[in-house]
């Protein structure tokens, strides 16, 4: 069994679902996600309001992130690439962290997800694609299934906690030691239900 390397995104202009490829990210390719490495990039290819500089990921140094992880076998970075060659989203994740809900078991930790700023409906009048973050999260759950973790995934939400609660992510007693942010986790039972609902299982 392999995990599908294609996901569905909704093309807002065409009004249809389209396929995007899951591609491995390199230190070279993620320069496009940073506001200060190459031009054009995610932050300049589409006109954005000044508030875009307040986005949580505006200052993320993706190159440093991938450099940090390059010799760690359990750490991966993938992007979603549409046929025009553009990256529509990125995911950095870790395979084999401890589960917070079931400490004797393993999980996948979603370190980062970012959708291209041009897909953020609160930044642009006409987003290009919808469903990028959801597709990356589905991929992380499928990866957890592949590694026999039952789909268990944990992550730190940035702000929209309600979104995760509605999707059965549970708050745990694990905190970021520096910020006090709460780790949320999708249990194996809820992950399996989610995969079945999506028709993946």
């Amino acid at each position: 069994m392999e995990v599908p390397k294609t996901v569905w995104l909704f093309d807002c202009q065409a009004g249809i679902n389209v396929e995007a490829a899951v591609v491995a990210l390199s230190r070279e390719s993620v320069k496009y996600l940073c506001h200060d490495w190459v031009e054009p990039n995610w932050w300049t290819e589409t006109p954005l309001p000044d508030e875009a500089k307040q986005e949580p990921d505006y200052d993320w140094d993706w190159v440093a992130l991938l450099s940090r992880d390059q010799r760690k076998p359990g750490r991966f970075a993938v992007g979603l690439q549409t046929p025009d060659g553009r990256l529509q989203g990125a995911l950095v994740y870790r395979v084999g962290v401890n589960s917070a809900l079931e400490p004797a078991k393993k999980a996948i930790f979603v370190d980062r997800i970012a959708s291209a700023p041009a897909n953020r409906e609160y930044l642009v009048q006409a987003p290009r694609f919808r469903g990028v973050g959801n597709a990356l999260l589905r991929y992380a759950v499928a990866e957890s299934w592949f590694y026999t973790f039952g789909g268990r995934v944990n992550l730190f939400p940035v702000a929209n906690v309600d979104f995760y609660l509605k999707r059965n992510f549970k708050p745990t007693n694990v905190l970021d030691p520096k910020t006090g942010d709460v780790l949320y986790e999708l249990s194996d039972a809820d992950a399996e239900s989610r995969l079945r609902e999506c028709g993946v299982l």
Binding site: M1, E2, V3, P4, T6, W8, E51, Q54, E55, P56, D57, D59, R71, K72, P73, G74, R75, V92, R94, V95, G96, V97, N98, K106, F109, V110, R112, I113, A114, N119, R120, E121, Y122, R130, V132, G133, N134, L137, R138, Y139, W145, F146, Y147, T148, L155, F156, P157, V158, A159, N160, F163, V174, D176, P177, K178, D181, L183, G199, V200, L201
Partner: protein, 91 residues
């Protein structure tokens, strides 16, 4: 700099940026012997991380296998551990 919390209720635009406590994260060590190929790396992790797989495994064993043998081994491991295959080709 203060960062925006304006995220849509119906989408995931940004996740993360916080740190897992070290005690929860066995993935933090560098491994200079890690397989570089994608399939090798996945098989290596699958065998290394699952507590029910008691296999005396060497990296040399991987390099001696062709890809179809590696895929068969992955299939055997999933079958042994009752991991149902994913039936969709698009997520």
């Amino acid at each position: 700099m203060a960062k925006s919390n304006r995220l849509s209720n119906d989408s995931i635009s940004v996740v993360g940026g916080s740190d897992l406590p070290d005690a929860m994260d066995p993935t933090s060590s560098d491994d200079f012997n890690m397989p570089l190929g994608d399939l090798d790396r996945r098989l290596y992790l699958l065998m290394k991380l699952h507590p029910d797989i008691d296999l005396n495994f060497r990296l040399d064993d991987l390099s001696a296998m062709d890809d179809s043998t590696k895929q068969l081994l992955i299939g055997d491991i999933h079958s042994l551990l009752n991991v149902a295959p994913l039936k969709s080709t698009v997520l």
